[in-house]
């Protein structure tokens, strides 16, 4: 426990002494998050990689539609000092040409994560030779589906046939439903048990 706390302090000092971190958050002994300016991301990731955080676990994105921004979250992990680090940054939300420089030179495995982010959020990654190719959604023909202004129900209605149920399955001749009957019965037995009082 002591040891892992040291890891967090070590990191805090390492990053905050060299970078202009907007916000540092210590979630627990195994997780930290740094919010940095988008210009610092590449140098920060390089620093982290050289100090042992050599595995890129995930690259994700968040669509903050009201603030008109995208947030990119890089999660890196170190096998010697067990701390997950989230490096968060915000870029301008621009449906057509939001873009962010690739991190392939630092973490080559980011190639596929960047393709995924491009597919689901439409963010471009110049420098990644095939960020525009399809990976998970095959032959997608609409706007990127994880954007907040995408309407999944409308897409589903227009693309997939719904099963329509004949009326009689839902309500048969205005009969009481079984649930209502049961509730009445329970209420009656409760009344009887309490001698007429509720």
């Amino acid at each position: 426990m002591m040891n892992s706390m040291n890891n967090v302090e070590f990191l805090n000092e390492l990053v905050n002494s060299k970078f202009n971190v907007v916000k540092t958050e210590i979630i627990n002994a195994e997780q930290m998050s740094f919010i940095v300016d988008s210009r610092d991301v590449h140098t920060l990731l390089t620093l982290l990689k050289t100090s042992g955080w050599k595995q890129l676990s995930y690259l994700s994105a968040i669509d903050w539609i009201k603030e008109d921004e995208f947030e990119l979250v890089y999660i890196v992990f170190n096998w010697d000092r067990p701390v997950h680090i989230q490096v968060r940054t915000r870029i301008k939300r621009d449906r057509e040409n939001a873009s962010f420089e690739t991190i392939i030179p630092i973490y080559p495995g980011a190639k596929y994560y960047e393709r995924e982010v491009h597919e689901f959020f439409g963010i471009k990654f110049p420098g990644n030779p095939d960020f525009h190719k399809q990976l998970i959604l095959e032959n997608w023909d609409d706007m990127p589906p994880l954007l907040k202004d995408f309407d999944p129900r409308a897409y589903s209605d227009s693309h997939f046939e719904k099963r329509d149920y004949p009326e009689k399955h839902i309500n048969l001749n205005n009969q009481e439903s079984k649930q209502e009957k049961r509730q009445k019965r329970n209420l009656k037995s409760l009344l009887l048990r309490n001698g007429g009082k509720k």
């Binding site: 190719k133 399809q134 998970i136 959604l137 095959e138 032959n139 023909d141 609409d142 589906p145 995408f150 999944p152 129900r153 897409y155 589903s156 693309h159 997939f160 046939e161 719904k162 099963r163």
Partner: protein
């Protein structure tokens, strides 16, 4: 007096007799291919092992589509898995049957408004038996299998014939939802 003369059967009657004999063998030895797409697949281990023991009905798991008779679609199908399901179904050797598990295959279930999950399986491939529930009880699953056996006996499990007869209709639905059944990208030659 009844004539005792031997009256030869027509070719059609002979074929029908053979088909009935074949049906006896087919319904007592259903080999299944489990396409475990969703959470309903968790109902299959109790159905296979000592709790319900489907081997006593002659059913057993098989490794490849060519060897199997029944395709079990256990749960929701995203567009990507639906493509693979269609390839798999078309590879199976006839006669072949399909069992759909759970409300997801019937009407979309809790994923009815998702952008990635289809709603009605029988639009795309013919389904012989549906087992309702989210997820269905193991009893319901076993009941579905015995229903399928009864349907094979009554010759009502005609999904595979339907797929041949109305192939255009099925193909059109598949293309409408999927765009293209066989995708061409770097992962497929």
């Amino acid at each position: 007096m009844k004539s005792t003369k031997f009256s030869p059967m027509t070719q059609e009657q002979i074929d029908k007799k053979w088909w009935e004999i074949g049906n006896y063998f087919r319904r007592n030895s259903l080999w299944m291919l489990m396409y475990c797409t969703g959470c309903c697949a968790i109902e299959l281990p109790p159905a296979m092992t000592s709790a319900y023991d489907m081997e006593r009905l002659g059913m057993g798991p098989m490794a490849t589509p060519r060897q199997a008779d029944v395709l079990l679609v256990t749960g929701y199908l995203s567009l990507k898995t639906l493509r693979r399901l269609i390839y798999t179904y078309e590879q199976m050797s006839e006669p072949k049957y399909v069992v759909g598990f759970g409300s997801c295959t019937i009407n979309g279930g809790i994923y009815h408004d998702s952008h990635a999950v289809i709603n009605k399986l029988d639009q795309y491939i013919p389904v012989d038996v549906y087992v309702a529930g989210c997820m269905p009880n193991t009893e319901a699953v076993m009941n579905g299998f015995t229903d399928l056996m009864g349907m094979i006996k009554n010759k009502t499990a005609r999904g595979w014939l339907d797929y041949k007869e109305r192939n255009d209709w099925y193909k059109k639905n598949q293309l409408d939802s999927l765009g293209e059944v066989l995708v061409h990208d770097e992962f497929h030659e």
